[in-house]
Amino acid sequence: MSDDLQPIINDLNAPFWAGAREGKLVLPYCVATQRPFWPPSPMSPWAEHAAIGWREAPARGVVRAMGVYRRVFLKAFEPLAPYAIALVELAENVRLHAHVADAHGANAPKVGDAVRLHFRVLIESGQPVLCAERVRG
């Protein structure tokens, strides 16, 4: 349960959240095909009887789509509005949702922009969660 607006962390997804606390993007991958995937699963999406491993992925990608929150549904996120959620595509064809701060600001990434993924605490006493910022230059 999540009265504190925190993700559910368990044995299936623990490596991701352990990585997040160290500032690293750690994803599950299919050992047989070497392809990373999301969300976590105890079975490979592609190969029969394949083992699942975890490894660090380059924390860079491209924004494919965005939704900008003009109405906020949870009070804890009100001070962050207008924020956006970006669909970020990594080089290995994995797509993740990431929080984008100050969505209408000059520095906010737009669709098509290269972004760096990092982990940041968004709300009081929260876990560090996935955020995207534009790669400059």
Binding site: S2, L12, V68, R70, R71
Partner: protein, 394 residues
Amino acid sequence: MSLSGKASIVGVGASSFARQPEKSVLQLAGDALKGALADAQLERGAIDGLIVQIGSPRGADYDTVAQAFGLSPKFCSQTWSHGRFTASVLTQAAMVVTSGMATRVACLMAMKNSDIGRMGEANNPFFYEQFREGGGPHAEEGHLGMTSPVAGAAMAFDLYCRRYKKDRELLAAIPLTFRRHARMTSDAVARDELTEAMYREARPIIEPLRLYDCSLVGDGAVCMIVTKRELATPAQRPVTILGAQGLQAGRDTFIFAPRGLGMWQQSEQRLTLKQARAQDVYGMAGMAPEQMDVLGLYDSFSPLPIYALEDFGFCEAGEGLDYVQDDRLALGGKQPANTAGGQLSQAQVNGWGQVRELVTQLRGEAGTRQVANARSAMWASIGGDALILGGAGA
């Protein structure tokens, strides 16, 4: 054995769709059940099967329904507590009566939202779903601030517009057309005129979606009674299930996107026109998209009918926004759809309003909204849930 032509809808009833926070959801369900029984000229003792589309916490579960209404079904079933399973419920009823597991199945969708917070908010019973592992039912990730079903719908529409380089303003055709239909529908919740300027200037909810792109979640119930076609009487004005298919799932499906173009890492492999026209529902009915006289399209958000038209082969992938221009979906247009206003304007009752309207159209009882010579009708929802229905003589 094919299910085509074996089972018919013989009774339809509905509650009022107005917000009624003081009412019990059982009162709404009762109005729909009584209406369906009266329409089918049956007494409740004739009902021996019950399938509930949406149970607790927004509706009543199958056992509560049976207890409250003095039903004694020997076959009961229930689908999940969100939308979409409209065709799946009616198809299951058709399978039940065809196989002899029951004779007359009441299919019920009843829900009440006016006494709870909006989905996405903390005081809504679905709050916790947004934080579950693997994401919520609409790809929510609450810990990122990604709450409410609107988010996934907005992001998927953004992805669609970028992929096909389409102007999002083309989408206005959907809510404007369905609103015009609702203005001709006495029990529609939203009957005020909606202009293109009002649509453009309405407040954004989650960009790129705005107020009038989102259905107004409220209160309502619809009940349909399904029996074997050979047991249907002419007085029941039966509407027969000619084709059906269930919901599809997998890594290339997402609740608010066309196949292959949803959230997380989907393939972006869209159905070709040939594949879309070969969906199972057409094979069962032995029919093609252009034979459909009137459509019901799932529209909890306004982009969804666009995707359904593409995934069911009415047009090519990426052409849906152009296809719906020039009043094509309007009454009097080439392909009338959601002729009672859909979820966007009649009532957000998970598509049961659209299927009810298709039955009304095929019975020739739609009054000023009647599509001339409507003989075949189709319910189509992204994700697969689909029906082809035929009226008398089908």
